[in-house]
Every structure is written in C-alpha cells, then in structure tokens.
Amino acid sequence: MERRTFITTALAGTACIALGVNYCSSDYIAVNKGLDDKHRLLFSVLVPVFLDGALPDVATLKRDAINRTLDAIEHTISILPQDSQAELEQLLGMLEGRLGLLILTGSVTPLMMRNQSELIDMLQSWRTSYLDMMVTAYQGLRELVMASYYSSPEHWSRLHYAKPSFLEDRP
C-alpha cells in the first residue's frame, strides 16, 4: 500500500527546487500521512543501514530489534522540543516526498526502492557534503537512530554490557 502511494505520487512543479528547502519542505506529497504519520516506513529503510553489523544476525531477532527501534524513534520524536520536532518533521517530510528526495539525494526514487549500497552512498554523500544542511540532516538522523537503538537493554548484548542488578525494584 505504502509503496503504491510512493509510486503514484503526482509530480509537483520543478520551479520550487530553485527556491530551496524551506519553500518545499511543507509539502507532503508522497506518503499518505493517514497511513504513516510516524515515519515508520522511512525509518524501517534507514535503521538497517545505520545499524548494519550492530543489529542481531538472526532474522527474527533482527526484526524484533528494528521494531523496538522504530517504537523508540517514535517516542524520541514525541518528546523533542517544538523547534527540533519541527526541523525533524521538515526533513522527514522531504525524504518522503519526490521533490525533497530530489533536493536531498539527487533522485526521485523512493528510499524504500533503493538497495543497500545506494542508501549507503546517500548517507555518505550527506556525511561528506560541503553543505551544512546535508551534514546536519545526516547527523540528526544518525543520532536519532543510534540513541533510539541503544535505549533498549535488549540491544546491549553485543556490547557485553548490562546495568547493575542491585536495584531490582526499579525496572
């Protein structure tokens, strides 16, 4: 369903690309917001790339870890201050829209239709961009994904870490 929404998106005029990010940021043209207002689809594509090698190897455990991370991301976004939340929504909205994708990635192909190496190339181009906007987009998403993933005690086994257990009355 979501994939179809991506594909059947109407084309917006290209004139506003030249006007830059802010003008285009509020449009939300690709994903039906009613179906995915928490950006889970978008993050379900990004999380495995950011956390490649850190996620569990076993498929079912990996799926559970991704789902927990998506829940944590949703929670993290909900507690961000108003300004940060607005900035993040702007970025996520762009990544879910063709126009925004074109501006940020140079291609209108929806992220979920890109393969792992294309997604790595995308993150790498943001990370090393000479435009601060791209670098902050990369860092903002990275920090959100990392903080959300490592918030779950279930995800600490590869770290060989657990919190002390002397206070069992405080789950």
Binding site: D52, G53, A72, P81, I120, V145, Y150, L159, R170
Partner: protein, 528 residues
C-alpha cells in the same frame, strides 16, 4: 534492594510541593523571596534564606524526580532529567550541550567533580572584569563551608580503570594530575551519577539543600516554567510562570509569584532567556552575550584489558597540565578528564554508521575515553556565544573560532600522547576522517594534518556559564559582585550565568561557594 527515597519520605511528612502540571486553575503565590531555579545556585540560596527565617518559594521548570525514579537507564534519565532530553545543541548544531532540567538542576545529573574556582580565573575577573571581593583568600571560607555541607572530599578509593588510564598517562609523561574531590556520602561506586544517583549518595541539591529548605517551610513549585519578570522602574513586582506537562509542553495554567526579593538561578541559558523575554533594561547590550561552554573534544582509545568505563566513580582524576600553560588570555588551554561510558552517550558522541560503528561498539568495554575541556572566554579570539530569543524559545549561537581549533589540535595530540603512554593499543580522535591510530608517532603526524571543523569534529559541553556577568562596572556587567542587579533593587542572580569567563574547572563548587557568600549577604540585608 530497597533504598529509602528521602524525597518521598519528606513529601509524606508534609513538605510543601506543588506540581504546577496538576493545578486545575491559575494561582498566585507569595513569599519573602522567590527563587527561579533549583540547581547549584537556587538550592544553596534556598537553604541559606530559609535558615535566616525568610519565607521562600523555589520555582523549577523541570519535574521533581528522585531516587525511586532513577533506574540507571539513559532512556529514562535523559528525557526526565536533562534539557531537551540531552539533545540540546548550539544553533548550528556543532556543539551538543548536556544541562540538567529537574529539581536539583544539573547537580542531579553531574559527575560530582568539585573544584574551587582556579586562582587565575579570579585574578582575571578582578583585573579585567571589575569583580571585587572575590580573591581566593576571601572565597576559601565559603568553599570550606560548602565542602562541609556537601561532604566534598578527595575520592579515597582506587580510580576506575578509565580514570586510571588518565593517571598512568600523566605519571608516564610527568604531567600534573590531581585526585578529584567529590560531593558524595556513602558512594556505592557504581558509575551512574549522570542518570540521577540511585542510592542518594551524591550530595546534590536534590537531597541536601532543597530538603533542608522544605523542612524549614519553603515551598517548591515544579513543572512551572518561568516566562517573564514583571517590572516597573527599579522594582520587579512579579514572576509569571506557565505550567508544563511531563514533556515540557505548555499547559493553560499560569502561576504568578510575588515577593520582596527575586533571585534568578535558572542557569546560564535560561536566566538570560528570562531576562530577554522580560525586556529588562540593558543599555550596554550584555544580556545573553559571552556565553561559555568549555567546548570539549573526545579521544577514544582501545586497550587490551577491560576498561568498563560505565562502572565506578565517573571522574576521579584530572590533569591541569595544559589549562593555564599560556597565561589566562594567551592561547586557549584545556583540562583533561574522562567521562563515564554508557551506550547512548558513546553511540551518539562518536561518528560513522554501519560496520565501522558496529566495530567500535563491539569494543565498548575495551574503550577508554579522554576528554579535553577548552577554557573559553579569555583570549581575544574566544568571546563565547550568544543566547537569543526565537519564536518558541531560545537559540545559542556559539561560533567555534580559529583560536578554539588551534587548541583542539593541541588537545587531540595531548590526549593521544597520554593514551599511548597509558598503554593504549589504538587511539581514535573523534573527528570525521580520522582512522584508528597505532602509535604516538603516527598519531602526531595525523593529528597535525587532520581537518578540524564544526560538524566534522565532535564537540560537546556539560558546563554552561556566562550571559549575565557580575562586576562593579555596569558597562561590562549586569549584576554587582554580590549578584545584585545594577538596575533593580530587588533582583539578584545566583547561578553560573554570572561568570564573566569560563572557569577552567568544573563549575559546581564555584557556584556553591559564591552563592553561599552572596545569599548570606542577601539574607542579612533582607532581615536587617
């Protein structure tokens, strides 16, 4: 094991606490003194003023959380106890800032390091910033008083392995190092100070001065975000606060406070923000300017033996080898310390993703981290940042200058040299493009050539200072050396915002000592 929660016990015994989020209608409260903020400044002031027989209301924007809430997990501590869930950043996002936001302020979450204000800082303030009466000799009795009050003493146990590496490196290289004094009583040495002490050993404001003030009849109002001071001529006549929910979202309840005297102690970001929102007179345009951060660089090191940086007192050794090396206003100096190492903290303050990130995290327990806190605010090319109002709050602009980057390069080199001297197998300066380095010789060359830039180099801060400096000359200060406003007869400022420069040392004891002095003087005036 069940640990008694002194806050729960105190509330049960009848302490006056109002959670503004639970009020059903707007209210006005009155007292002799209203204190905005409950951190190092507000807490100490509250205790001293109540002991002098004055009625006191403490207004805190954050929630009242206590040991039964502290479960040693970052996912709970950061949203509950830190500004912006520990994700606060400067306007260009180049510096991440950790600042407390709960009853007890940053003292609830700091790492307990307690250092008297360094003499070169006090001398500089006296000579260049018109601060009077704050020589070390004059301040030492106040530091002694607060050290006794908060059980501040030299850490008598072995440093944890993370701090031990810092010590060993210093010993090998003949660098100055000091065993840290900590404000703890019966510390369990677990390493979770940054998430709220789970066993009430840390002598934060939350378990010391604020309970003492409440016991003596003070009122605590939490989740009440102060929006502005109402003022006319040379008098403040009210403080207006808005109730906020658990996520700091505003509620439709307003609480008004009226007092004979008002104290701003909301920290070096929020005190200036409140002043700016209140449009206080500021003829020399000082408010919110010269905000200092001790901008901090990180250097990771992989050791062959377990470091377990999450375990044990987080800070027990520091090195001042490079802090004042070039004089107060010469090239920027830096203090060497170590941070605790916890999963979210380390994952978010390192760089990269995918395989390289996974490889780093697999070394989690072998990872030693050294930090260099750069002493800002003295050199002419280090004038700090500026707090500005935005539509929904504030922004802190903090340009990282050439002088800072020169210090950063020296600091990365010092940290790598130290870590190799302590036996590190590899060193990883936390900056884009830097590989794992395998020897001091390799590191020296790579660091000399490394690209340093905002957003490429990880820079963090846990110390916010300045923005409302003290001094006798109104051209360079907002309040006098006792923290009393130059413009309002019933307004004082008692927090880290009064520092005219950074300190070159972790700030809590400076705030405790100077507040003790200034609040004692205020109590004398108000009870005369």
């Amino acid at each position: 094991m069940a640990i008694e929660d002194p806050i729960v016990t105190g509330l049960d015994s009848g302490w006056a606490h109002i959670n503004a989020a639970q009020l059903s209608e707007s209210q006005t409260l009155e007292a002799d003194v209203v204190i905005v903020g409950s951190g190092a400044g507000g807490g100490v002031a509250a205790e001293i003023l109540t002991q002098a027989g004055l009625s006191v209301i403490i207004v805190e924007g954050g929630p009242l959380k206590s040991s039964s809430n502290f479960n040693m997990e970052e996912r709970r501590a950061y949203p509950d106890l830190y500004q912006q869930a520990a994700g606060m950043k400067t306007a260009d996002k180049a510096i991440g800032i950790f600042q407390g936001r709960a009853v007890g302020g940053s003292t609830t979450v700091n790492w307990t390091t307690s250092i008297r204000t360094p003499e070169p800082a006090l001398e500089y303030w006296s000579q260049s910033k018109s601060v009077e009466g704050l020589s070390r000799a004059e301040l030492d009795p106040w530091f002694e008083k607060m050290e006794q009050r908060l059980n501040i003493s030299k850490w008598a146990y072995e440093p944890n392995r993370n701090n031990q590496a810092l010590k060993q490196g210093c010993e090998q290289l003949g660098w100055q190092h000091t065993v840290i004094k900590r404000n703890v009583k019966g510390c369990w040495n677990t390493g979770y100070c940054g998430m709220g002490c789970p066993v009430n050993a840390k002598q934060s404001m939350l378990v010391t001065t604020i309970p003492a003030a409440l016991e003596a009849g003070a009122t605590l109002v939490s989740q009440a975000k102060v929006m502005k001071l109402e003022h006319h001529n040379d008098k403040v006549f009210a403080v207006k606060a808005q109730a906020v929910d658990d996520n700091m979202k505003p509620l439709a309840i307003e609480v008004m406070f009226k007092a004979k005297h008002y104290i701003l102690a909301a920290g070096a970001i929020h005190t200036p923000t409140i002043m700016l929102r209140s449009k206080l007179p500021d003829p020399h345009e000082i408010i919110g300017k010269r905000t200092f951060l001790h901008p901090t660089l990180l250097s990771g090191a992989v050791f062959s033996d377990p470091i377990n940086g999450h375990s044990g007192a987080p800070q027990s050794i520091y090195s001042d080898e490079f802090v004042w090396q070039n004089g107060a206003d010469g090239e920027l100096g830096y203090k060497l310390e170590v941070p605790p190492i916890h999963p979210i903290l380390i994952a978010s303050k390192t760089i990269g993703y995918g395989k390289s990130h996974a490889e780093l995290m697999e070394k989690f327990n072998q990872l030693q981290v050294t930090i260099a806190l750069v002493r800002d605010g003295y050199h002419e090319n280090s004038q700090g940042g500026q707090v500005k109002l935005t539509e929904n709050g504030f922004a802190l602009d903090y340009p990282l200058t050439d002088a800072f980057w020169r210090a950063a390069r020296r600091a990365f080199a010092s940290m790598a040299e130290l870590q190799f001297a302590a036996g590190a197998q590899q060193v990883l300066p936390i900056s884009e493009g830097m590989p794992y380095l395998s020897s001091w010789n390799e590191a020296k060359k790579a660091i000399n050539e490394m690209e340093l830039a905002p957003l490429k180099t990880v820079v963090a801060s846990a110390h916010v200072m300045g923005g409302c400096p003290f001094g006798e000359d109104p051209k360079v200060s907002m309040v006098n050396s006792f923290g009393e406003s130059h413009y309002f007869e019933n307004l004082s400022v008692m927090d880290g915002s009064i520092f005219p420069t950074s300190l070159g040392a972790n700030p809590q004891l400076s705030i405790y000592g100077i507040t003790a002095r200034n609040a004692t003087r205020l109590a004398e005036k108000l009870t005369a």
